[in-house]
Assembly symmetry: C2
Homo-oligomer: 137 residues x 2
């Protein structure tokens, strides 16, 4: 597995799991919709500005993403560690916005509760059944 | 949702996601088989003594578990924060062992690579679609 194989694998999964570290030092996991955009080492998600994870990432940008596929005979998973940036600037918000997002953000692309999470990959561990490989980014 | 509803929900899921914090302070997520036993606030898993997460939990016991169910119309997820204890004592290992485990641990219940993870719940966040509830343990 190399970086491009990892990107290809995660592009096919419908759910992403995001890890953060809360103010008491505990890890926290949440499920997210699949990434909106993957651009080299940067992976973009949309989320609510008011959510707890935005507070956590503003205080501590250390993060990870997990993607997996449980096949009939094979389990594949990848955990990528990296830094998470909360993007509140209108340019990034415009770029990531899709028309259907209005269901969640009534005020549209300028809705103050709409924001973008930008995850920058550092390294990954790829698991296939009981084997593990490290992948550099 | 109360504690018993959360326990009932997680008992039905086939995959558990475990969060730890690594030596550089980054969160790490891994998938695990469903818990082997749930006893009040304690949730037990089996794993390899040699695995990276054992090293991480020995140095930092702050942890979380995530379980989810993506239905046709409804998404449910629960993140429980708590402490993870690595159990290497033979009594706990005997109690949690099942015959089929010999596939993974050739030396059986005394295999030095077989160990038990005991997670003690502190509190949980239950997510159902866009709503969130806090559950005490």
């Amino acid at each position: 597995m190399d970086k491009s194989n990892v990107i290809e694998f995660i592009s096919k999964q419908k759910t992403a799991f995001i890890g953060s570290v809360n103010e008491d030092g505990f890890p926290v996991i949440r499920a997210m919709l699949a990434p909106r955009k993957i651009d080299n080492n940067d992976i973009y998600f949309t989320t609510n500005t008011s959510s707890n994870k935005i507070k956590q990432f503003t205080e501590n940008d250390k993060s990870c993403l997990y993607f997996y596929k449980r096949g009939l005979f094979k389990y594949q998973g990848v955990c990528i560690t990296g830094k998470m940036e909360v993007c509140l600037d209108q340019n990034t918000k415009n770029e990531i916005w899709r028309t259907g997002d209005k269901i969640y953000y009534k005020q549209g692309v300028t809705d103050p509760d709409y924001c973008v999470l930008k995850f920058t990959c550092i390294s990954a561990e790829y698991y296939c059944d009981l084997k593990k490989e490290t992948v550099s980014f």
